[in-house]
Symmetry: C2
Subunit: 405 residues, 2 copies
Amino acid sequence: KVNKARLWDSLMEMAKIGATDKGGCCRLALTDLDKQGRDLYIRWAEEAGCTVKIDQVGNIMATRPGEDMSLPPVGTGSHLDTQPTGGKFDGVFGVLSGLEVVRSLNDHGIKTRHPIEISVWTNEEGSRFAPAMMGSGVVSGRFTLQEILDKVDVEGKRLGDELERIGYAGETPVTGRQYHAFFETHIEQGPYLEAEGKTIGVVTGGQGQRWYDVELTGQESHAGTTPMHLRTDALTCSAELILAVQSIAQQHKPGCGTVGFMQVGPNSRNTIPGKVTLSVDLRHPDDAALSDMDAQLQETVARLTQETGVKIELKPIWYYAPIPFAPQCIEAVRTAAAALGYSHMDIIAGAGHDACYVSDFAPTSMVFTPCLNGISHNEIESTTAEECEAGCSVLLNAMLQMAEV
Amino acid sequence: KVNKARLWDSLMEMAKIGATDKGGCCRLALTDLDKQGRDLYIRWAEEAGCTVKIDQVGNIMATRPGEDMSLPPVGTGSHLDTQPTGGKFDGVFGVLSGLEVVRSLNDHGIKTRHPIEISVWTNEEGSRFAPAMMGSGVVSGRFTLQEILDKVDVEGKRLGDELERIGYAGETPVTGRQYHAFFETHIEQGPYLEAEGKTIGVVTGGQGQRWYDVELTGQESHAGTTPMHLRTDALTCSAELILAVQSIAQQHKPGCGTVGFMQVGPNSRNTIPGKVTLSVDLRHPDDAALSDMDAQLQETVARLTQETGVKIELKPIWYYAPIPFAPQCIEAVRTAAAALGYSHMDIIAGAGHDACYVSDFAPTSMVFTPCLNGISHNEIESTTAEECEAGCSVLLNAMLQMAEV
Ligand SMILES: NC(=O)NCCC(=O)O
Ligand SMILES: NC(=O)NCCC(=O)O
């Protein structure tokens, strides 16, 4: 087992960077605060005897040497960036569990044949720059380095420039990365483990996702003089679209459909909105169902255009099919949970994780732990030191199975 | 008749201040651009022989002396502020028609018994600072000076401070203002004159308005892991509210209902929105119908709170009942239009106008002119030099009836 207090203290220390009033964290990707979090982590990793490298998309790799350095490492890791009103654990727990594994191995003087590598992946959240899981996506080849460096945030700032600005545009190539196996620890972010009273989720795969940018163009006009039947209101049309997204998801259980981002123009209370931009996020564990949700969204857009006269541009910006994890890694997590006496259940990840993309080029699985009321992407996100200890201990055990003591 | 070319040239000159790419104007109340517009107007008014005063809420009064200065002036005027994506004529036409009346009287050496006063009212649009018609509302006593000076914009800037900043916090008291009669020229901003093929709208009154600020609080949560039935989504609830506002208006013809302003928090595409703030604008020419619309809005809010679990705070921020204009002023406008041979019809103002508040303390009416396709609060707002000349000539004639040559 790992050192519960040390893991918790590190989590609380990292949470001070970008701490919010309501007990959460705002450490958006590639901001000054993200840099501070990265710097602190690198100091800790070096203090634990790791060699640190930065790659071209800003991913941080910290390596604890193995006895046979010609072997590919056994990897773990996650991300340090957060949502605008994020919690203290989403991502950070996966990074600091990796660090705690190394610290524990050091405590007990344990040597492994394979090196151990902890990675911090750039912009996992996809909130400031869309889509999500960019760092792991570039390494896996899902995205080209160039297309990611050229992404811009809502203020028009370029990801590549921001990476340079905070000093994390590294030199290690993003190509040719290898892992003997990869595990990521993460809070579940959903309600299932808590509902079933289980300590550990053995993650068998991740559901598929489709993201869209939508732009609606109506006609601005006066709110007091334009009769209702002569309006081309981009906001009432958006309202119908938002409810359609909700209904499409409800018809495809256990799928999800969300509009999380929306901007209204000119945003003046006595002008009928002429412009709305919004995001759509559709998810389903079954790819056929996800395709059906996509088709229904397209039909809805066609129907609303017809009915309202609002011009609707629906741009798909991201898609990945459901990801099955590697049987031997899933089994390693299950065996570790059982060996340590933790109650456990198989589970599918509802969120996207860097592990989903790592799984393209290495055998992968994940370890989930419960979070209070299943709430994440919220400042009140909460878990306990014991739950973190359990997840991290399962990680240690699973990694040791693969890294060969 | 007035000087068509001079009126048009002045309109085009003023339109350069805050000119937008699409041919409109963005000259929000109490910005640097508003100051530029005010400065230019004051120069013109002084060149036309007027004495200029600024009152405590920034209203500008330009007076052409009458033969008997003990008599209250015959007033006209409107506003120079615009919507964020406004047109070149809304408000400005009313101010510069007043100036053109003075210039024409000068041209012909016409003296009037009553003084003539042209006013530029502060923040008529209500876009940057809500509600609308603030300058005229303070003078009429609908608002206290202090409450208006303490209003803040969306960035928290205080109206009183902005007034100081641009040098328009004047010393003339806002109390005790008098007019023998008041007329305001304005583009109709709606489709009726054009549809009926009439040159002049004789405005018999203004419809009533109710404005609200609404704050919806749900629970932020992860877009991929939170099952649809466990969400408390402030944005899907807002979508239902937006469609309800539309439907309430549709059920109360010829009423209007609009959500023009909306902000979503945390506005991250993979977080279920926990916070939405939005505006509601309800209007009706009949006060009982407007009350009924208000009651239905309150019922909708209660029902949605119940159904969705979202906390909804509905704050009424503005109300005025429909305004009937003074029979003698309405008649003066009608007589002037007929005398000049312009086709005309009676009409009710769909928008709020400073004349509505002036009507509290002085006999008042308005002169409407058509605008292309009834479009206003839009950069493409359009009218012709001939239409402006017609409206301004009716104004001149109506004012002369009251001011006694
Ligand atoms: N784990 C997590 O919250 N990832 C963000 C990307 C997503 O929305 O799934
Ligand atoms: N005339 C005009 O557009 N006034 C703005 C206030 C309103 O929305 O009625």
